[in-house]
């Protein structure tokens, strides 16, 4: 992708502020008192399962829905009551919403023509943005004659051509096959980094979110659970729900019983464990969890060292570049270990020792504290 002209527009639309936004359909609260500040130039992904309210929030920012309560402002200017056509925000729809009666060129030129931009400049910018998304020379086609990936690119070019100060994308890759999704995600990422335009992206796909974003907000039940850069979100999720949503998890019920050895002492179904997980609370019942890639395996029974558990191997799966081992722990709990390359030398049905570092053992208390 070429990006002539877009680097210049970096400078971003300023901070987006969402203040106490609540939205109801009838009596159902779709959004519950959401507040967030998104600095200009960020790539924010709203990540959540369907029904979490992420699309509604995106549409409120875009002006397609007026929130029941609350305020939206950009760079300090209140835009809550502004109709979409006066917000200067690009929107890429899940269904692409390309105008079927217009050619690709006419679709892309639409925003310029309603703004009264002269024909000559308009066609120059249309060409430019079609080139940007790698669709040079297709401007005479109709959307119905394009593949899904091409349609998606047209939608992107159309939303960018008028140089909006923010771009909103509603699961734009949802309808495409896996390989194309990954490719377009990387392209979108680099487009955003070069142009510096604020992008807000909605998806339920964690991998996609992590690929592109500088910030990820995990949403459940109409609220933002946690908003942080992807790495922070993955390493120190604020609660179990967030942890489950970003990556796989091996879980067990447990109870924290004071501190020792520089960490929290934990009673688990597999015996005593130790966690030095960031700011773990030291008392009460909860759930402890380890990510599959943080488990280490060796043949034989456990020693006296901390965080070692005896287990029986249920399955060893070789997936080419990765491997996975399913383990049955004491009291019948099944955990999973994952890693790169060849699987370790363990046999199905054999006994192994599972171990992990104390800082990898996440601890979420039932009262919500971590």
């Amino acid at each position: 992708m070429n990006h002539s002209g877009y680097a210049a527009s970096s400078g971003q639309g300023g901070e987006l502020a969402i203040e106490n936004v609540t939205h109801r359909y009838g009596t159902v609260n779709v959004l519950n008192n959401i507040s967030a500040r998104i600095p200009g130039g960020e790539f924010l992904t709203l990540l959540g399962a369907s029904g979490s309210g992420k699309t509604t929030l995106l549409r409120i920012i875009g002006g397609l829905i007026t929130p029941s309560e609350g305020r939206i402002s950009v760079a300090g200017r209140d835009i809550t009551g502004l109709p979409p056509e006066r917000r200067d925000i690009g929107f890429v729809f899940q269904s692409y919403a390309l105008f079927p009666h217009m050619t690709v060129g006419e679709n892309v030129a639409f925003s310029l023509s309603v703004r009264g931009i002269p024909k000559q400049e308009s066609s120059r910018r249309v060409e430019e943005s079609l080139e940007l998304v790698g669709l040079k020379g297709l401007s005479g086609r109709y959307p119905g004659q394009l593949s899904g990936g091409q349609q998606q690119r047209v939608a992107l070019a159309r939303a960018l051509v008028f140089k909006p100060n923010m771009l909103l994308l509603d699961e734009p890759l949802g309808a495409l096959d896996r390989q194309l999704r990954q490719q377009l995600a990387v392209e979108l990422r680099s487009l955003q980094r070069r142009s510096g335009i604020t992008m807000i992206y909605v998806t339920h796909d964690q991998e996609e979110a992590f690929t592109m974003s500088t910030l990820v907000a995990v949403m459940t039940n109409g609220a933002i659970r946690q908003m942080a850069p992807p790495a922070d979100l993955y390493r120190s999720p604020s609660d179990l729900t967030v942890a489950q949503f970003v990556g796989d998890l091996n879980e067990a019920a447990c109870e924290a019983a004071g501190t020792a050895d520089g960490g929290v002492r934990i009673q688990s179904p597999f015996g005593p464990l130790v966690s030095t997980y960031t700011s773990a609370s030291s008392h009460g019942r909860g759930v402890c969890a380890v990510r599959p890639e943080h488990l280490r395996l060796r043949p034989g029974e456990p020693s006296d060292a901390v965080n070692e558990i005896g287990a029986t191997v249920r399955a060893v799966i070789f997936g080419g570049s990765w491997h996975r081992v399913d383990l049955e722990l004491p009291s019948g709990v099944v955990w999973r270990a994952e890693g790169r390359g060849e699987p370790p030398a363990v046999e199905e049905g054999g006994r192994v020792t599972v171990s992990f570092d104390p800082e990898r053992l996440m601890l979420f208390m039932n009262n919500g504290a971590r």
């Binding site: 359909y25 509604t56 002006g63 729809f93 269904s95 105008f99």
Partner: protein, 547 residues
Amino acid sequence: MRHRPNRAALLVLPGLIFLSATFIYPLIGLFLRSMDPEGRLSFTAPRFALLNYAGLLSDPLYQVILKNTFIVAAVATVVTLVLAYPVCYFMSRLPGRWAKVLLILALFPFWTSILVRLFAFTQILPHFGVMYTTTATVIGMVYYLLPYMIAVLYATMVGIDNELINAARTLGANMRQAMLRIFMPLTKPGVAVGSTMVFVISLGFFLTPALLGGGSDLTVSTYIQQQVNIAKWGRASAMGTVLLVLTLVAYYGFNRLFGSDKGGILGGGSQKGVSRTEGLRMTWPVASGFVLTIAVFAFLLAPLVIVVLLSFTSTTYLSFPPKGFSGRWYTGFFTDRDWLGSAWLSLKVAALTAVTATILGLLTAIGLVRGNLPFQRFMSAMFLAPLIVPVILIAVSLFDIANRFHLVGTLTGYVAGHALLALPVTVLIASNALRSIGTELELAARTLGASRVRAFLSVTARMIAPSLAVAAIFAFVTSWDEPVVALFMSTGRSTLPVHIFNHIQTEVSPMVAAVSTMLMAVVLLGGLFYALVSALRRRRLQAGFGG
């Protein structure tokens, strides 16, 4: 690809023979009469002269009639379009179940006998001083045409994803620009189809100008009927041929002009959890459109309500508002042998028509869909043609042939005519049903050991049974409500619509209002029954899929 017809192709034969006997042969007869200087019909020694056509060109009266017909049809089409468009826009943006209720209300007049509707206007229009004028004709035509236009436009508009309007808005278009540049261009195919349909129907209007326009308002159809009545077949058939050609030209022309397929690929997007009304803010154009919508619904329903009110009058004459309250006209109907006899005849004809048209329709559909016929498209078009040809031509040419074979006034004559009118729709419904289920399941049954016939009966036939029931109901209603063919076919005892027609023309007794009310009640009850049955079926299906 070579077409090698298989045995299923033979099944089109009964339908083809029927179509030839009741449609193609009579129309050829009409054409031959138009070529004969005296309007005589001879298949063995036809004479070809353009005398009748030359007459049409030279006589100013014909030109007035032609012009009148065209202008009235054009005006009615435009008025119908202008009224239906905003109404359909509102309906298409409403939440699904509200739209459904409104659509049923809008289509209610469609299911009501045309004579009931015309009767309503004969009672209402005199109060506005427009009875027996062209205005009255246009009002009656618009009333008849609105449900067609609404059905077509609504179907087009409901397919337009609201997301396209949203997209236009985020790109900087205001609501007006979004409507003008996105929504309206996308409705073009619907507007073209709806207008063509309505215009072609308008060209063939016969009863409406005859009853509402009075004698002064001559249209091609009324003129043809008059000429046939005085046995001037030459002029009548020449005029009929002209009407047929004009209809086909109008049909073809509209299609060429507007029927581009570019808009056909409507973005059918998912609108997950998003209310369809989210973009609809109350501005003054929205408000005025809303008022217009209410006005159109009032126009559609008020005449029918008035008929019901009139039927309970206690006086022997019709007056509005009705005086007193009495059920005498209802008891009167059930003791009147004339009315009862007509109703019984109509019932017999409609039932036989339903059976005939459905069986012929099914056989034809199997042949067309599965027969791998040569000229398959042309054959399909032939079976649909009776929908396009003005009904007055079908009626006149059928009458001509029926006369030669002494079938006028017989049950066979009525049923042949009505089955011809219903056949296109039964063929269409049965073909769509057959196409949508495909042959895969039937083949599966045959791999399991079922014979060809057995597989068809136990799989395909059972799956298309609901569609066939709909086809039969449609055929029944077509016949039950059909006045024009029946008018030409009747001698002595006439069907119910013709009986009503004669009553409206001669005396105005409240009996017609009572009969009309009962006809509407039957439609209403039938509709409720249908809704109930389909709701039950849906529930059963959902339960079956463990939903």
